[in-house]
Subunit: 497 residues, 2 copies
């Protein structure tokens, strides 16, 4: 073919380009949890791994001052050594390869695993077929029953929508709410950037409300009212309130009275409640058990429109990679329920393995089942370890000079406040960085290999600086992580003081 | 609590409601493949299943004139009996439950399955951890190698983005392209409604181009030029061209010369090519082997921006429920590549099981591997069966009076054209139905239990009527399906003649 050696025809310019060639809202979007810090961490990790085979750094690579990159940037427990729950994985393996549980096959799994897998296969076309758009009916029915058991109030399977993690459901709901650029949704500051990023992409107005750092990251209704009124004064039609409970990145757990006040506020102000409750099993304080919005809305017989989100990625399963989650809606118009159904249809359905994982999370083995003992010991060990790590890490951070950290009542994160010397703030400005905490985190990464996320990625009061760190590394590693952070912090303070 | 017995506080109205309460673009969206027909089919299926336990229809239920609902509405092979490929499921079960392949565990899988699973586990944190946003690096590297083998031209792992099926990638690309309501993308008529639905949701302009039914659903560049010029005349900025090859719902396979012409057209007119190639393994004609856009673009040394899509849902694997797929981009600005990365980040990553399934699809066992013989026989059987069913079904349909059906060169569908009597067209109008083929399909469903999708859901020339049917039911069932369709068709024609 002659064209092989000819130059390409003259293409005037790229269609998709930085010069106005792509949707501006998407360009404006920020997602710090997977941002600049993480890209740099991945580059460092590659540098380290290249040195492993022959242990000889290539001349161009200066040796790094650490031996491993520690990812504390994201709640991804199994990436830092947490083991999966055996029962969950056994059932999923059995439905993946049903010959493993054929009647004539040698027994490789406990009998309740086999039964559970057979039930799934009998009630579905297996993991290889699309399900109904909102998820397998029998999974939705069982999730509804589990919610009933949790809260004492019924749940309807047709109000359950299974999705790839919780994120997809959150995006669907936001996309319905935001009709024009003057439609707004209230989100906490600090918040999980899924919300800010999705709203930027959807070109909606973010109405931030501050959590009270001096009061254990409390959520006050006075603050909600203030920010709502301000936003309305600016011409924003505020349509919904996002509450993350337990908090991300802040780790606070809301009391039942607090939920009541929030519900009354949303009723009065006509707001949909979006309750991000993915950390409901990650509560480390006995004084404040997790209470779902669904329960309190039901107790109050409130008609407020509610969407609550849950996921297999967190809790003690930590099955991030399976991408399973659900949204339960309550008090929604039937029209709206059908619209959600249609929006889910365009993605056909969420992955079936993740759907079944949701069922296994919501209805685990019971006392007396062959798998119960192992299940219970695995779950207890993971939970107790998380709890100890949360305390060890916040105690450790609070011992740093110029660092103050609320303890984690729940979730998987700490959000310490750091005092940054004025010289460092100036230096960050000179470097063109968005915030001084970005520089702090970048320098921490280069010095220690520990990857955390700057507070500015989540939002914070002007003039304050934070970072978010998980407490997910193994218990053996935690003291070393704290120690590396501490030495870095001292050097940073010295450097810029 | 006193509030339990009190009526709920007065909520003025629902926030989310039909009365202007939700994003209008989403309300306007249509997705026929999972629309009205399917909802009715599911209701009928429930009616049938309720009658099974005691075989006594409840008094309110009139017995249906069929014993089963046959879903021909969607390319979902495993829902209608297709078996999964053993090798694929064994590897996935092993990575799901690594104790199955522990050194001391009894051997339940062939040695190449064990090795493959160990490789996956060694190169990742297993299926329970989030991967890098665009997918596991080693899977992307292997996909790139497989594309190189397929086409003879290199592929770069950083140009591969793994997603939950192909749909998510398609939506990401469209969302980048469509900046304002006057930005448009060319889509075939008829087309797979993912494109029209996503574009309606994104508020972009759909620029339809007709496939030539009388010429085996051919894609002519003259037609592309005509529709492009028309759209530009209306003030539309046309930015991309969607080509589905093999066609959905139309089943045509494009020749290499045709691809060249299309590429030259897109170069000349500065359009991004979106190549939906998910049916690349579903080609049933020896005269027109599948040729990828990537290959021809590379041969021509063209600089045209290309995104091509592939999925584990189709081919011979038919693993719809796993939700695995990839997008390969070529000739994109680095800025744009990074923007795609960011957009993927907000969903964290696609499910890992689906990612590994993509690897297994692209790099199957080779001759000499312990699993090869079984793999090869399973794949061959499924492929040959699909091919025979495609022929049986189009031959069957072409024997109906007033039905004309192009044979399927590829994919999983037939799109027969039906002559609908004027009285039926009038009746459909009186019933307020969008098109007479909706009535035809609804009546077919009620009479036969066979669920197909009206042509109007895909787009068709004004005054013509079609439906889309898969040819996926088992070979044993196909004659019965054709027979039921035939008897219905005769009755329909009689009723309205």
């Amino acid at each position: 073919m002659t064209s092989r050696t000819q130059p390409a025809p003259d293409v005037p310019r790229k269609v998709l380009s930085a010069a106005g060639g792509v949707n501006r809202s998407l360009e404006a979007m920020e997602y710090a949890v997977r941002g600049q810090l993480v890209l740099r961490a991945e580059a460092l990790a590659r540098q380290l791994s290249r040195r492993v085979p022959d242990s000889q750094p290539s001349p161009s690579e200066s040796p790094l001052p650490f031996h491993s990159v520690v990812y504390c940037n994201i709640g991804n427990p199994q990436s830092v050594g947490q083991k999966p729950i055996s029962f969950v994985r056994q059932v999923l393996a059995a439905i993946m390869c049903p010959t493993l549980i054929a009647p004539d096959a040698p027994a490789v799994f406990p009998s309740d695993v086999v039964q559970r897998a057979r039930d799934v296969l009998a009630a579905s076309h297996g993991v290889g077929a699309y399900s109904e758009s909102r998820g397998l009916p029998f999974v939705r029915a069982r999730v509804a029953k589990a919610i009933h058991r949790r809260d004492g109030f019924p749940s309807h399977p047709d109000n359950i929508f299974l999705s790839n993690g919780a994120s997809d459901s959150v995006k669907v709901l936001l996309s319905m709410l935001l009709r024009t650029p003057t439609d707004g949704v209230m989100i906490p500051i600090p918040q999980y950037p899924l919300y800010s990023a999705s709203m930027t992409a959807l070109n909606g107005a973010q109405v931030g409300y501050y959590l009270d750092e001096d009061n254990a990251w409390g959520l006050g209704v006075d603050e909600l009212q203030l920010r709502l009124d301000e936003a309305r004064g600016r011409g924003i039609t505020v349509r919904a309130l996002v509450v993350i409970n337990p908090g991300n990145p802040t780790g606070q757990v809301l009391s039942e009275q607090n939920l009541k006040d929030i519900i009354h506020f949303c009723e009065r102000e006509n707001l949909v409640i979006m309750a991000d409750e993915v950390y409901q099993k990650n509560v480390y304080t006995e004084e404040k058990p997790f209470v779902s919005f669904k329960k309190v809305v039901s107790e109050l017989r409130s008609q407020v429109e509610l969407a609550s989100f849950h996921s297999v990625s967190k809790g003690v399963m930590g099955e991030c990679g399976l991408r399973g989650g659900y949204m339960e809606v309550l008090n929604m118009d039937q029209y709206v329920n059908e619209l959600i159904y249609k929006l889910f249809s365009v993605s056909l359905c969420s992955n079936i393995v993740g759907q079944v994982a949701v069922d296994l999370m919501m209805t685990p083995p019971e006392q007396g089942d062959p798998s119960y003992e192992l299940y219970n010991s695995e779950v207890t060990n993971i939970y107790e370890s998380l709890r100890r790590k949360a305390i060890a890490m916040s105690d450790g951070l609070n011992a740093f000079e110029g660092v103050r950290c609320n303890p984690s009542e729940g979730a998987m994160y700490l959000f310490p406040r750091i005092t940054i010397p004025p010289a460092a703030v100036t230096e960050a400005k000179n470097l063109g960085l968005a915030s001084a905490d970005v520089m702090y985190c970048l320098e921490m990464l280069e010095a220690t290999g520990i990857c955390v996320v700057p507070g500015s990625g989540f939002g914070q009061r002007k003039g304050t600086y934070h970072f978010r760190t998980t407490f997910l590394p193994s218990e053996k590693e935690i003291p070393g992580v704290i120690d590396r952070m501490h030495r870095f912090h001292q050097q940073f303070m010295l450097k810029y003081s």
